[in-house]
Amino acid sequence: MAYSFPEEVLEHVFSFISSEKDRNAVSLVCKSWYEMERWCRRRIFVGNCYAVNPKIMIGRFPEVKSIELKGKPHFADFNLVPEGWGGYVYPWIVEIARGYPWLEEIRLKRMVVTDESLELISKSFKNFKVLVLSSCEGFSTDGLAAIAANCRNLRVLELRECEVEDLSGHWLSHFPDSSTSLESLNIACLVSEVSFSALERLVARSPNLKTLRLNRTVPLEKLSTLLHLAPQLVEFGTGAYSAEIRSDVYSSLAEAFSGCKNLKGLSGFWDVIPAYLPAFYSACSRLTTLNLSYAIIQSPELTKIVSQCHNLQRLLVLDYIEDTGLNALAMSCKDLQELRVFPSDPFVADANVLLTEQGLVSVSEGCPKLQSVLYFCRQMSNSALITIANNRPNLTCFRLCILEPRAPDYVTFEPLDAGFGAIVENCKQLRRLSMSGLLTDRVFEHIGTHGKKLDMLSVAFAGDSDLGLHHVLSGCDSLRKLEIRDCPFGDKALLANASKLETMRSLWMSSCSVSFGACKLLGEKMPGLNVEVIDERENLDGMHESCPVEKLYIYRTVAGQRFDMPDFVRTMGKDTVYRVARKR
């Protein structure tokens, strides 16, 4: 019983519990455990920055060392969320600068981060160690200079696919000579040239550097210098992988790569000159991750590469790999867990490469540990999907994008309901699913019936009626994130499953048939939800009840409606005035 354990014992036991979910469960046992737990929680993950506000967070968890925040909905990645929608981190930084002076780690995804925010971060936390910005925007290299200059114990600085206003590469020189703590540096998304000598010196004085991802401007000829300075690297991202073909440059590079005995992951490879590829082959047998998804390399060379990577667990590649390359992958990489195949030419109707459903089928046959798939292709069949489902019941994440919307089974011309149905039925641990192709309400019936572990579902150009949406909302017990575009779903399913929405993180619907009136009703009836209508076409004040809204974003929140919205966003059904302070 709880009261028989002294606090110190409980605290010690809790220190072994790191998972969010478990921590939340622990806090629900009884009041004393709740109290105990909240004082010793060190990591917070906020999946939607508008679901809670920083005051509430700091009030409940006073001694946090690490925060992760996510802002915009996932479809913002594909330009579906208009500029100015929100996701500003500054108000959070202001509060946590006050509440958590000993904060060490900040991780942000899809948020608007300003130079002001970065400066505030750099000055507010004396022991700041980790800054990871993924798909963020709104800052410039000036903000990075502040981080470099002021964070004395910085260990991790990672910019993952951010949009940075790149004023100059000079910011890197702001790392003081005394800074030797760097463990991970990822500047791959930056455009400007950084001073190579500053980079060289930084790498030389960072003995714990394990991850280094360069940007495109670092020339191939300089790579061997860096690799010699950091032979302990575990993850390395090259710059532009091209240079005049010279045997001395080649052998330098080859020798440098073979000197990195701990190298497990490679990335980069922009502007590839194939003659230089074999320079890294000595590392292939040790690689567990290989990201060639920006590399224009043809199938024969890609085949050669994957055939040597016997320990590969994660491969990201362009569809240049073709079915033949994927066959080779299936034969050589028995430890493969994750495969992502991106389209080289997504906006052209005709296939520019010989990549079909067959490649994915081969990998599903040959790689017993395959769990996670992201696959862009131009044709698919129910039979292939059924085969994949039978081969790989252990799939946890399956994302298939057939480039043409509503494309049917290319052999039978039927919808792909049966194929995706087989996936959800056989893959009982499936947590994430993205579908494409021609799909009727039937596929949603399958999903509602079998997708019990499904956490995130992405749907586009699918379904016939509200029944489809109803199947999902009523059947998927674990559903937390649902994103829908261009589907004929209207008011009925949404209103009938209103309470389900409070058990989810968020629902996104764009170009569907949900009426303004239904949104208002939902917002009024569900105080625990923010029902945001996003519509740039119309003046939202004068919108008619029956008018279908352009975009709808519904999320549960304990923070009430937000007040940082632009004029094309309304939170429906709340009493307070819609447009208050309009920042930005």
């Binding site: 594909f78 798909s135 005049e244 502007d271 080289s344 030419d345 109707a349 520019n352 490469v353 919307p405």
Partner: protein, 179 residues
């Protein structure tokens, strides 16, 4: 023996374009029909010719991140002109690709092509306006779609105008001298 006259026909279009099956999604087939196999770098070059039209773009579809779109577009642009071009050789079963950027002059290019196809192209002989003492003659298609003998124009100009290369049998190339 198939002499493949069509391939050696001197005309303005791409050799072989007539023979390609039309992409027809309503024809059931177990193997994919496809058009010219080409990389994204060539897609940029194709814009001026009649190529399969780009689809009317739906916003946010396919779901490719803007970051990725920008990076791929940039790389496509960089390799757009004077870089990777296809090389065909009469009689060879498949095509190759060379990156013209990698060579400093015609001599290096010829050496590279020789290596690739293990043939002797020989040196360009200005006096004779052609390639003597060799079985093959390198030709290229320029921006205007004309087939030219490699070596006539300064190297820099060649780099910016060459779209693809074709190594012809020398006796068939003689006709090109008198454009």
């Amino acid at each position: 023996m198939d002499l493949n006259y069509k391939a050696t026909e001197l005309r303005l279009g791409l050799p072989g374009t007539d023979d390609l099956p039309e992409i027809n999604t309503t024809t059931p087939t177990s193997s994919p029909t496809k058009s010219n196999k080409r990389s994204s770098s060539e897609m940029c070059l194709d814009e001026s010719r009649s190529s399969p039209p780009a689809k009317a773009q739906v916003v946010g579809w396919p779901p490719v991140r803007s970051y990725r779109k920008n990076v791929m577009h940039e790389q496509g642009k960089k390799t757009e002109v004077g870089s990777y071009v296809k090389v065909s050789m009469d009689g060879a079963p498949y095509l190759r690709k060379v990156d013209l950027k990698v060579y400093k002059n015609y001599g290096e290019l010829m050496k590279g092509l020789e290596e690739m196809f293990k043939c002797i192209i020989g040196l360009y002989n200005e006096k004779e306006l052609g390639y003597n003492g060799s079985m093959h003659a390198p030709t290229y298609e320029d921006k205007e779609g004309d087939w030219m003998l490699v070596g006539d124009v300064p190297w820099e100009m060649f780099l910016t105008s060459c779209k693809r290369l074709r190594i012809m049998k020398a006796n068939e190339a003689k006709g090109l001298d008198f454009n």
